[in-house]
Amino acid sequence: MNDSKIPAWVSIIVLPLINILFAFAFSAIIFLAVDVNPIEAAQTMINGAFGYQEGIGYTFYYATNFIFTGLAVAVAFSAGLFNIGGEGQAYIGGLGVGLVCLGLDHTLPFWALLPITMFASMAFGALWAFIPAYLQAYRGSHIVITTIMFNFIASSLMVYLMVNVLNQKGQMAPVSRVFEASAGLPGFHTIAGWFGYGFAESPMNLSFLIALLCCVLVWVLLWRTRWGYAIRAMGSSPSAAEYGGINRKRLIIIVMLISGALSGLLSLNEVQGYAQQLKLGFVAGYGFTGIAVCLIGRNHPFGIVLASILFGILYQGGAELSFDFPNIDREMIQVVQALVVLFSGALSLMLVKPTERLFVYLDEKKKSNNTNAAEA
């Protein structure tokens, strides 16, 4: 198949949209199977996600998580690495944020604390990605398997720490104490207040802006720097990149450190923004959702923002859905998510040829119409 047959906008915009439509169509079938009208469900979800200010806040609060994990997957993907360990990296990143907040929230004001927590989340997340990266680069072990294993190790480590070390004295619940109110990230309603606007209270907070900033930085990194060029070169052809003088091993480690740091930043939103204390299981699958976000966003920061908002709608709308329809709960959203990964990821090549044929057919028809018109 030669690619020149179809215009670029078809493969960049139309094909991904068709893939998502397929995923939604199959989701609709499952909605029907559990006696839920998919159109009503979609209306409820959109209303829940955008119908009122608190809902909007929740949508963007979820989207913040997905931007971070989506970027983390995308940076690694650009280098041809599959970082499936966002879950564990975010979890350990949260440990970093939690430790800083627990240790310094009495002594430091917020603006002094924020750079430290940001650094801690990135450093801890990057550390958790460093070991798999090192083992991939220098010992040849497969990064997918190692990062899966590290997710489990992170989870056990956190259970141990929360049950034995970081819980409050004399209490059984595996949660740390709540941070000082001054340590938490300001909510979006507070930020809006600074500028004289009113906004309903919601978990959306400053980290959304940090996430957007990260998008810009990742875009600059990947498309405007030498490192980015090297990363993309390695992603499209590792051997050619090595002939071109790129140090593959070092680059694997750099890429994974960036990816782990981005995953770690998720905990800024969850730990310092939302919960304002350390809890078990706060990553809750956001790391895996990052894979879906990255696939729909086609590895590009701009696409990832759009895909994150889409998933924010699905999560917030999904929560709303479970109030209105007794037959479903949040798990339904995971099905939609799975179908998106399936169609936009695993089956992404399935519809390439049919779409190409369709466009070639339409093109020829247009030409023959034109000649007919000319003859007449």
Partner: protein, 321 residues
């Protein structure tokens, strides 16, 4: 002391059985060149299918059949994505795991209204333990009595099936023509193609074998090990099986020992909860829980031996090249 050891080994067999079945499934699939991180999702969905079908029909055999069919269907979906459409095998595996986690709870809620659980199964609707002939008679004989009556006898049929399937799978993969071709498809699919054999069909058949085996593993969880399905009951067993597969270097007998080792660690973790060990003191359960993962990471990194997988694993086969 002796009794304790026997009891721990007994528990080891119980927790290892689903690992063995799932790891053998992974063996078929990965030997043919298909990475299978979808084991987890297949176990989970077949556990649900087994419990749901059994509680509706009352027949455990129909339940087992439904479990095998469900995970085979998921296997075929995996194949459709990464054999027919050359999709990324890991992405496809992630999708199947998510699908299983979401769909089991959604359908379970809708059908049974118990928040995702299936109704509890009675003993007639489960694989219950079998007392081997003479077990009661020799139970009082010192040493051997306990060994026979506790460790060897008294498991459900699926445990024995899992153990019996290890030599069977070894024979299929290493001694039959199908097995030779299957391994070749994982090492050098072009050679297989040159010999006029369809790589795609071989890989599909390997995935069907894997589907059947994970189906049994899932049925074991919900109808033998416990009495009904609970959301997310596979709890990472698919990944442990994957780790055991790597730990056993993609060979049936070492894989069996890998599963037994990880099962043993699991049994120890439960037993050692809160117990004081001489010289070491109290060992945190989590430290034992992570050992399978740590050991696999160390092995993969070549610090303890070397694990080299099938050469063409994870690479979609493109005929025209």
């Amino acid at each position: 002391m002796y009794e304790n050891i026997i009891l721990i080994l007994d528990a080891t067999l119980r927790v290892s059985a689903p690992l063995i079945l799932a790891a053998l499934a992974g063996l078929f699939s990965e030997r043919s060149g298909i990475v299978n991180i979808a084991l987890e999702g297949k176990i989970l969905s077949s556990a649900f299918a087994a419990a749901a079908t059994t509680s509706v029909t009352g027949s455990i055999m129909l339940g087992l059949l439904a479990a095998m069919m469900t995970s085979t269907l998921l296997s075929l979906l995996h194949g459709f994505a990464c054999i027919t459409h050359r999709g990324d095998q890991i992405v496809s595996g992630v999708a199947i795991n998510m699908l299983a986690a979401g769909l089991t709870v959604t359908l379970g809620r809708y059908w049974f209204g118990l928040g995702g659980q299936t109704p509890p199964l009675s003993n007639d609707e489960r694989f219950t333990s079998i007392t081997l002939p003479g077990a009661d008679a020799v139970a009082d004989v010192p040493v051997i009595g306990l060994l026979y009556s506790e460790l060897i006898s008294g498991h459900n049929i699926l445990v024995y099936l899992a153990l019996a399937l290890v030599p069977v799978c070894w024979w299929i993969i290493f001694k039959t023509r199908f097995g030779l071709r299957l391994r070749a498809a994982g090492e050098n699919p072009h050679a297989v193609d040159t010999a006029g054999i369809s790589v795609a069909w071989l890989r599909y058949r390997a995935l069907i074998c894997a589907g059947i085996l994970t189906g049994i593993a899932g049925a074991y969880l919900s109808t033998a090990h416990s009495a009904g399905f609970v959301p997310n009951m596979s709890a990472g067993k698919g990944y442990i099986a994957l780790a055991a597969l790597i730990f056993g270097k993609w060979k049936p007998v070492p894989v069996l020992f890998g599963c037994l080792l990880f099962g043993f660690l699991d049994a120890m973790a439960i037993r050692l909860q809160g117990a004081e060990l001489p010289f070491i003191g109290e060992v945190p359960v989590q430290a034992i829980e992570i050992l399978p993962y740590v050991l696999t990471v160390l092995l993969l990194a070549g610090f303890i031996g070397r694990a080299v997988g099938p050469k063409s694993i994870g690479v979609p086969y493109v005929k025209s090249r």
